[in-house]
């Protein structure tokens, strides 16, 4: 598994010489690896299972398990999966290039969001990774 820093560098890199669907798959994989880092930081083994056909969604579910999630990153994951599906259905669609650009923005958001959460876990109700910490403080 590549580190968050490595993933960050790859996500910031614009464009790809790959065909549209392969490029979309690459972006989806970057998103998966971001979440895998998050899951691993919680001392769990990142799952290779799929949910609704996506490892990305299974990883989010695994990371958010038992922490009542505010779900901002879940929706970002779902948008990423949705855009992947659009490209999968019709890689030659006139909007494919734009969809790939937006997929990169979504992957980047997930990366920023997750890396921010890992640096600042005790942000309170707003941050879905913080609830267990708050509960520990209260007990």
């Amino acid at each position: 598994m590549r580190s968050l820093a490595e993933l960050g560098t790859l996500i910031e890199r614009e464009g790809s010489d790959k065909a549209a669907l392969a490029h979309a798959g690459e972006l989806l994989q970057l998103g998966e690896e971001v979440l895998a880092n998050w899951v691993a930081a919680k001392k769990k083994a990142p799952t290779f299972a799929e949910r609704e056909g996506f490892r990305l969604l299974a990883l989010h579910r695994q990371g958010a398990k038992s922490a009542p999630s505010f779900n901002a990153c879940r929706e970002t994951c779902r948008e990423l999966a949705y855009h992947y599906n659009l490209i999968l259905l019709d890689p030659n669609h006139p909007d494919t290039e734009k969809r790939l650009i937006l997929m990169r923005h979504l992957t980047r958001h997930l990366y920023y969001f997750v890396s921010g959460k890992m640096q600042n876990e005790q942000l309170g109700e707003f941050c879905c990774s913080s609830r267990p910490l708050r509960l520990n403080d209260a007990s």
């Binding site: 009542p68 999630s69 505010f70 779900n71 901002a72 990153c73 929706e75 970002t76 779902r78 948008e79 949705y82 855009h83 734009k98 650009i101 937006l102 923005h105 979504l106 980047r108 958001h109 920023y112 969001f113 890396s115 921010g116 640096q119 600042n120 942000l123 309170g124 109700e125 707003f126 941050c127 708050r134």
Partner: protein, 311 residues
């Protein structure tokens, strides 16, 4: 007009703290648009903070009490059954308090104890319905009636509608959403899109419409907030937008401030303009930019509005 529409013609108005400060333009434009549309607002008397994020993080039940007091005044002292809160934070907190009071006995006990001590009637779950400004205009007026009142079409504006996180999350506190046709969606909210389209604007496909703006990170990790906002702004621009429409004062301030900070800190200049959806609706209804507080925004949209003959 259906019963829901009739119910929303005159509602209790809870502006909340932000709309008296950084979100003043939102307050101003919400009132101006309501007046132009014939919808009435009466401000909740002697209202208090909803508990925002600070109180909620220290003691969620005290936040529930603070929000319940606002609803209690509206219901028991002013006789209203609808409270309209345009701020996403206030809206979210009142909805959360409603949910907790309906489902959690411990919350009911705490709220009753503090209410008694404070000397006002305890709010009972179900006494009022809390709505957002989007619900108010969408159901109180509707797209067709809005269209009929538009005198200055927003055509030429390409809008990325940004709803932020608290308008739809967590889903369980919004039982009225996701109920099929005519109701709001928590995963793909569209009320703002619907209203602005009725006002003549073109909405762009914007996949980050409910993404985190980094509001909670603003002070603890400003760089992360700036990166999150910059990503939202750049995605809006890549989607073809020349305006980002907002409906939350925290998101709006965050987008405006971090747009500037992104240029200073990271050297990335973006040009998309940021306006409250109520400001845009006001312009479409023929109100002047000053009347809807465009001059109060940090994001200078005057050149664009002038170019499109909206100012």
């Amino acid at each position: 007009m259906n019963d829901q529409g009739k119910k929303y013609q005159k509602v209790a108005y809870y502006p909340g703290c932000a709309l008296e400060g950084t979100g003043h333009a939102y307050n101003r434009s919400t009132k101006a648009v309501g007046k132009a549309l014939g919808l009435e607002l009466e401000e909740v008397k002697n209202w208090n903070c909803c508990g925002a994020m600070e109180v909620k993080n220290i003691d969620p039940k005290v936040q529930t009490y603070l929000s319940s007091r606002v609803m209690s005044i509206a219901a028991n002292e002013m006789g209203y059954d609808v409270v309209m809160a345009p701020c996403n934070g206030c809206y979210h907190n009142l909805k959360k308090a409603e949910y907790d009071l309906k489902n959690d006995e411990a919350s009911r006990q705490v709220v009753d104890r503090i209410s008694t001590k404070a000397g006002h009637e305890t709010y009972q779950s179900g006494q009022v319905e809390t709505i957002h400004a989007l619900d108010w205009i969408k159901h109180g007026i509707g797209e067709e009636a809005l269209k009929a009142k538009v005198t200055n079409s927003l055509s030429g504006l390409k809008i990325a509608n940004y709803y932020g996180c608290m308008y739809t999350r967590p889903r369980h506190i919004f039982p009225e959403k996701d109920q099929g046709a005519g109701t709001e969606s928590t995963s793909q909210p569209h009320f703002m899109d619907d209203l602005l389209e009725a006002a003549g604007a073109t909405n762009v496909d914007f996949p980050l419409k409910t993404a985190c703006c980094g509001g909670a990170h603003t002070l603890s990790d400003s760089d992360m907030s700036t990166k999150l906002v910059l990503n939202i702004i750049q995605a809006a621009e890549k989607s073809g937008a020349n305006v980002i429409a907002t409906e939350c004062p925290t998101c709006h301030s965050g987008l405006e401030m971090h747009q500037i900070r992104a240029e200073r800190k990271f050297g990335v200049k973006t040009s998309v303009k940021i306006l409250y959806f109520t400001q845009l609706l006001g312009l479409a209804l023929g109100l002047s930019p000053r009347k809807v507080g465009v001059q109060e925004n940090v994001s200078d949209s005057f050149p664009l509005l002038k170019e499109l003959k909206l100012a």
